[in-house]
């Protein structure tokens, strides 16, 4: 038999080590005992998962392969040492090698107690559900006065003690043999039939049908019509596929979708139970073949793109449009990154279209106000454009002086708003604003990007011009349906139909960098742990920012007085700054890293954008926890966030029945459900609404009365709200709780207008390009709402085009 012996302390000198060494020698003709030491095992920390580190993996593998485990514990403070507790915590969290494993407890100590109390604690700990070891009952071996117990050769001197140890050990050998029988896979028989259960979706339960024959799970069908598209659908196909393929419930959950993954597994487990079988048996079966590493993979393409969000897919599409080969590597199971999470409006000045809409109250003031900015406040490179803009405003006001005000716009106005909107000073006094040439490309080519997307199949809704929060102007082009997913769906279809390859579940770990500094591919880790290498002439980094990496946000932050450890984010959990680190490994320079954007109107619990009633900003009425307005609701995102933070973080959006009709991405069913769950408040009177959110009713009533009077007069003397639409007057009334959450990171890799990544001397890094949120320099201190989609589709497109033009065409030229 083969056992593992764990020395229960990390101390240099230990009688428990001596005891195990004695057992190893003494029983060498009966069993093989391999001794494992705790030195080098990190302190368990659930915030810093090291389950995959070599030292923990060594314990995991050795224990898994052994017939049983012997733990020798000292006693520290009437319990087991922290070092021993720490390894048991590692082995009961994400890994469970001790589950069902026969375990023998022994212990040695200085005093006569011989670790008696520690052993009792250890037995209780090994019984905990996460550990779930099969501990041999009885046969307690306590070696007291251990310092006197051994002779010079390390043998136990007392013969009766050795006799007792022999009896305990022989019993353990038999116990291990019997206990391991419990681990032999059981036969499973189902009552054949079709079972209706549910899986857990993001928006509630999803109906799931499981079909079983007498020996197999034959079919799993999940009705996902109630789910938002794009985010979760991989869970609902891959997990059922693996369950059926391996006839197992031992399925890896998908990163970023653990709740829905477990929901599917639990649902099938329930069906198994209904069919009269024990799901635990299926949980102990091996994983499906496709989930097991079958060797490393190697690919070659003209261009490899890191990240399958909007920027990456745009880059890939533009490579394919030129007839070249592209591979997109995505770390998550699902593609779409943050793009699938957006509301869909993409800023592009399209004056011909926009002038068909009437202006709304307040917009004229906004134009005049911006045009009245003193020229000395405008940075030199923007001055010429600023003068053009002033002339445009003068012309517009002249044209509309007799009424009939229409919605004005121009690429120059978009540029000035991006510039002014991004101009900020951080806590250290550093001033920042968008780099002129990049902002010019963004705003001049925005409309071209819209047209390009239309060619690829994105359908825009021209009946409405939208303004997302913090956009400052109505120039949003919104897809007809499916919001951000519309872009991803169209681009994915185009990429796949034109021979592009998308490899999911594969985080890129490093860039391949040649001796001359040229970047020529990437190396990642695949879903089953295999190495995935892609060789290419050019690498486009399109992996997004670092909004879901709190540690990195805190490391670079120079803008917010504090970023809380538990700050929420509206981002996908995939957005952890990977591309920035990859760029740095090739010597890339960074720009504006200290500036991150909070989305002021996020869900306080989840950070999500589209819960409650998310309406256009002209219909925002924000009240603090005292029921008072506190800010110009039409302001930029950081102004709103700072105001919210200064008012205690949590605040409410107040709406009436008419404003409710203008809410994005919701419906009456979702609204009713949220009211029932208590995440959205609804009442027939403002007074009652006030009571529900713990606000003085008189204060809220007065706040709303004042707000309504400002709407009537088209002017807000208190906070200067930039535009108005509806009053709050028709019952029922709503209050949506909101709180700022991390939304966008403006800083990133330094690029030029051709998306070359630049090094610290300002020179191009050959073969390396970057587009989207991974790059910095454009939005500077604050990104306008609706500008991120413009950014990713404009620069993503450029990256694909330039990479081919420079790296592939020039290489062809040389070989020809």
């Amino acid at each position: 038999m083969k056992f593992v012996g764990i020395v229960g302390t990390n101390a240099a000198q230990s009688y428990n080590r001596k005891l195990l060494e004695f057992m190893k020698n003494h029983f060498s003709d009966k069993a093989e005992i391999e001794i494992l030491e705790l030195r080098g095992v990190p302190m368990f920390n659930e915030s810093d998962d090291q389950s995959l580190s070599p030292v923990i993996q060594n314990f995991n593998t050795k224990i898994t392969e052994a017939d049983g485990v012997i733990i020798a514990t000292p006693e520290h403070n009437h319990s087991i040492p922290s070092a021993l507790k720490s390894i048991l915590e590692w082995l009961s969290w994400n890994l469970h090698p001790l589950d069902g494993k026969p375990v023998m407890v022994v212990g040695a100590a200085y005093d006569v107690q011989g670790s008696s109390r520690a052993q009792l604690h250890l037995r209780q700990i090994l019984d905990a559900p996460g550990v779930n070891a099969s501990v041999m009952p009885g046969s307690e071996f306590l070696l007291g006065r251990a310092h006197e117990a051994f002779d010079g050769e390390g043998n136990i001197k007392s013969e009766p003690t050795v006799d007792f140890l022999d009896s305990c050990f022989y019993r353990f050998m038999r116990f291990a043999k019997v206990a391991n029988l419990l681990n032999v896979p059981e036969e499973v028989n189902f009552e054949p039939g079709t079972y209706n259960v549910t899986a857990l979706g993001h928006n509630g339960d999803l109906p799931m049908v499981v079909e079983m024959s007498s020996t197999r799970i034959e079919k799993i069908e999940i009705d996902t019509s109630g789910e938002s598209q794009g985010i979760a659908d991989v869970v609902f196909t891959r997990i059922p596929n693996q369950i059926i393929e391996g006839q197992t419930l031992n399925v890896d959950i998908l990163s970023g979708a653990s709740v829905t993954s477990n929901g599917v597994i639990d649902g099938v487990a329930k069906a198994v139970k209904m069919a009269g079988a024990n799901p635990d048996v299926l949980k102990k079966r091996p994983k499906a073949q496709s989930a097991i590493n079958r060797g490393d993979e190697e690919y070659t393409a003209d261009v490899v793109v890191v990240g399958a969000g909007g920027a990456g897919l745009a880059a890939a599409a533009s490579v394919l449009q030129q007839g070249k080969k592209v591979i997109v590597v995505e770390k998550f199971p699902a593609i779409g990154g943050n793009t699938v999470r957006t509301g869909g409006p993409m800023n592009a000045a399209d004056p011909e279209w926009q002038r068909t809409f009437a202006a709304i109250p307040g917009e004229g003031h906004t134009l005049e106000g911006l045009a009245a900015t003193p020229e000395e406040q405008v940075d030199a490179e923007y001055l010429e454009d600023f003068r053009i803009f002033k002339q445009q405003v003068a012309d517009y006001l002249e044209q509309t002086k007799n009424g009939q005000e229409f919605l004005f716009d121009s690429a120059v106005f978009h540029r000035m708003q991006t510039y002014f909107g991004g101009k900020r000073t951080d806590l250290q006094g550093n001033k920042i604003y968008g780099q002129y040439d990049l902002v010019k490309v963004l705003t001049d080519q925005a409309l071209e990007s819209v047209k390009w997307l239309e060619e690829l199949g994105v359908e825009f809704d021209y009946k409405d011009v939208t303004m997302p929060v913090g956009a400052l102007w109505r120039r949003g082009h919104k897809p007809v349906k499916h919001e951000g997913y519309a872009f991803v769906a169209a681009l994915e279809k185009f990429v796949r139909e034109n021979g592009g390859q998308i490899i999911t579940d594969t985080p890129v770990k490093q860039l391949i960098i040649e001796a001359d500094g040229r970047v020529s591919g990437v190396v990642g880790t695949g879903v089953a742990g295999q190495t995935v290498t892609v060789h290419a002439r050019a690498v486009v980094l399109a992996s997004g920012g670092f909004g879901a990496n709190t540690r990195m946000l805190k490391q670079y932050n120079t803008y917010w007085s504090e970023i809380d450890d538990e700050i929420k984010t509206s981002n996908s959990p995939a957005i952890t700054g990977d591309g920035i680190l990859l760029g740095q490994s090739a010597g890339a320079d960074l720009v504006g890293m200290g500036f991150s954007q909070m989305m002021p109107v996020s869900d306080p619990q989840t950070g999500a954008l589209f819960s409650g009633l998310q309406v256009p900003p002209q219909n925002f009425v924000m009240v603090n926890q005292q029921g008072k307005r506190f800010v110009n609701e039409y302001g930029s995102r950081d102004q709103l966030s700072i105001a919210a933070i200064n008012n205690g973080g949590l605040f409410y959006l107040i709406a009436d029945d008419k404003i409710k009709e203008t809410a994005y991405n919701t419906n009456q069913q979702k609204i009713d459900k949220q009211v029932a769950q208590g995440t959205l408040f609804r009442a027939d009177t403002l007074e009652d609404l006030a009571r529900q959110i713990n606000v003085d009713p008189a204060v809220l009533v007065e706040t709303i009365a004042k707000y309504n009077s400002y709407v009537d007069q088209g002017h807000d003397p208190e906070f200067g709200k930039g535009a108005f639409d509806l009053k709050v007057e028709v019952a029922p009334f709503y209050a949506t709780p909101r709180k700022p959450a991390v939304h966008h990171t403006m800083g990133g890799l330094k690029i030029d207008t051709d998306t070359h990544v630049l090094n610290e001397s300002g020179r191009q890094i050959p073969g390396l390009y970057a587009a989207g949120e991974v790059a910095g320099g454009i939005h500077a201190g604050n990104r306008l709402g609706g500008n991120s989609l413009t950014d990713i589709f404009t620069f993503g497109r450029i990256a694909g085009r330039v990479a081919i033009a420079e790296q592939v065409r020039s290489a062809e030229h040389v070989t020809n």
Binding site: M43, N45, H76, N77, S79, A83, K85, Y110, D111
Partner: protein, 207 residues
């Protein structure tokens, strides 16, 4: 009254941390409770010389200066977390400031049981001669379902639990005072315990 509250975990997110932060605010009129973290402390490794690292010494000094200590423990595998056990080992291995110190044990868990088994272990641990803490007897504060126990502002939302905590805290304040009185009037072998070691005890050199 000056108390310190020890967050019994190294995790970045912890409802035990929230519990202590709540107590610190909620009882601010009755006592000053400084919430202390253990996440930056190195793991105990039984070094020769019985010298605690700087960060541990700082915590020990705070304990020594305080009138009492509140420990908020999570439950990992039916016991206290290794990270908390490690701190206790440092304390018992070096200057032993917990000897005769009044201690209140509280705990919060995501599940229903509220760290009952971890608290029982912690009591036994604090009873060891080299720790010899004076733990408030017959009162335990178990906070189950801790994920939904605190609102946005960190207030404990379960009214019955707030009342229970009020009562236990009042009792603890009294316990601290009586214990201080007792210590003033009697010498309970504090110095001997400070020198106690299992090595010498086992060689017949008990006290």
């Amino acid at each position: 009254m000056n108390l310190i509250g020890i967050v019994g975990t190294n995790s970045n997110t912890s409802t035990n941390r929230k519990l202590l932060q709540f107590m610190s605010k909620h009882f601010s009129a009755q006592a000053q409770i400084e919430v202390c973290e253990i996440k930056h402390l190195p793991a105990f490794d039984e070094p020769e010389g019985r010298q605690a690292p700087q960060e541990v010494q700082e915590l020990c000094e705070k304990i020594a200066a305080a009138d009492g200590v509140i420990i908020a423990t999570p439950e990992y595998d039916h016991s206290i977390p290794a990270a908390l056990k490690s701190v206790i080992e440092w304390i018992s291995y070096t200057t032993r400031p917990l000897i005769n110190k009044s201690v209140l044990i509280v705990g919060a868990s995501h599940g229903l049981l509220g760290t009952s088994r971890a608290q029982a272990h912690l009591r036994q641990i604090l009873d060891a001669p080299e720790l010899k803490a004076r733990v408030l007897p017959s009162s335990e504060f178990l906070l189950g379902h801790s994920l939904t126990a605190f609102d946005e502002e960190g207030h404990l939302v379960y009214a019955d639990k707030v009342q229970e905590l009020d009562e236990i805290f009042e009792e603890f304040r009294l316990f601290v005072k009586i214990n201080q009185q007792l210590m003033k009037e009697h010498d309970f072998k504090t110095e001997q315990n400070k020198r106690f070691s299992w090595e010498t005890a086992s060689q017949g050199g008990r006290f």
